[in-house]
């Protein structure tokens, strides 16, 4: 059975970029355009990993990660932040709220595949 990865990003092009990179590796990919939609999608699928942006409307990445970590059934899902924010403040905050990895945009498709492979096969 294919592993399912949820991508939360308000940029349709980034959602496509990441989807391509991961579908090529044999993953199933579902997408959300903000944190709110991601939270709504979570109970509908067995998500194995989440890749999220930080700057998003309605619910940003920090709030999304916090919401995921507060839910017992989702608290162990690996989360990778993919953001153009490169400041140490955002990086530290992201990791403190519960992200497992932090990647910056623009990203190398191989690097994201590597990052995902650290958590799921």
């Amino acid at each position: 059975m294919k592993k399912v990865i949820l991508i939360a990003d308000d940029s349709p092009t980034i959602r496509k970029f990441v989807s391509f990179s991961l579908k090529a590796q044999g993953f199933d990919v579902i997408v959300a355009c903000d944190g709110m939609e991601a939270v709504e999608l979570l109970p509908t699928k067995n998500i194995d990993l989440i890749i999220t942006d930080l700057n998003m409307p309605n619910m940003d990445g920090f709030e999304l990660i916090k919401a995921i970590r507060e839910n017992q059934s989702n608290k162990d899902i690996p989360i990778i932040i993919l953001s153009s924010l490169k400041g140490s403040e955002e990086i530290e905050r992201g990791l403190k709220v519960g992200a497992n990895s932090y990647m910056v945009k623009p990203f190398d498709p191989k690097r994201i595949q590597y990052e995902v492979s650290k958590y799921i096969n």
Binding site: S11, K96, Y102, V104, P106, F107, D108
Partner: protein, 251 residues
């Protein structure tokens, strides 16, 4: 000094003061005239400024819409390009699989020819023909070269994918510009309100656009070098937090 003499002296003093006031007034008249003239000149200027503000403010929604249109158009074009790249990648994958099949077929054919050569022990002519046949189907090098080409094209499409991420960065920069000009519109709206409160009535009835939420990185920059990720990697080492610290971030 009698009471009446004192009163007369006071009256003379007051008259002198009044005289001084008149003299001062005479001196002030040109100044006041100058001031009135300045105000008369200033009113059209204020009206002109107000008109310019109105004009600038009315153009801002249009500028903002144009920026949105640019973002949407590039986003759409990028999505189309990405779909095509995806198709190319799928085709490349199919070609790669076909090449693998061809290599297998070639190896199998080579095996059959070798077996045939063993079967026709005494027929030297047949052996020579089979050897030639073996040489003619030996396309191993060509296949390897084709596979390398496919790998090279795949690497190039990966590079294109990476470069196209510039669209996301420019979209964020445009969102920042949009936010800035809508903020300017708000400021100009405030100025017009200030004009109106002084009695001057501007004819501006334009609604002020809602200041959009900030969900972009105004400092987003396109730099595809791996150094940025290396910097992040060096920061994230050994980052671990307690629940208390997590809650503090949202308090």
């Amino acid at each position: 000094m009698s009471e009446s003499t004192k009163n007369l002296s006071d009256i003379v003093t007051k008259l002198k003061e009044i005289d001084n006031v008149f003299k001062f007034g005479e001196k002030m008249i040109p100044v006041i005239e100058g001031f009135v003239s300045f105000i008369s000149d200033f009113v059209p200027f204020v009206e002109q400024v107000s008109g310019s503000i109105q004009d600038s403010r009315s153009k801002i929604p249009e500028a903002s819409n144009q920026i949105d249109k640019v973002t949407n158009a590039t986003e759409l074009a990028m999505t189309e390009v990405l779909d095509k790249i995806d198709e190319i990648n799928i085709d490349l994958n199919d070609i790669s699989n076909c090449l693998d099949d061809m290599v297998e077929h070639r190896i199998r054919a080579e095996g059959y020819v070798t077996e045939l050569c063993k079967e026709i022990k005494d027929n030297e002519n047949a052996k020579v023909i089979f050897k030639k046949l073996l040489e003619s189907i030996d396309v191993g090098l060509t296949l390897e070269m084709m596979k390398n080409k496919v790998r090279q094209i795949t690497a190039n499409t990966d590079q294109i994918t990476m470069s196209l991420q510039v669209q996301d960065i420019t979209a964020q920069q445009l969102a920042a510009v949009n936010h800035l000009i809508i903020s300017v519109q708000h400021k100009l709206g405030g100025l017009l309100e200030a004009f109106n409160s002084t009695g001057y009535n501007s004819s501006d009835n334009l609604e002020i656009s809602k200041l959009p939420d900030v969900h972009f990185d105004a400092n987003a920059s396109y730099n595809p070098s791996s150094n940025q990720q290396d910097d992040v990697d060096s920061i994230i080492k050994n980052e671990k937090a307690s629940q208390e610290e997590i809650d503090k971030l949202f308090s």
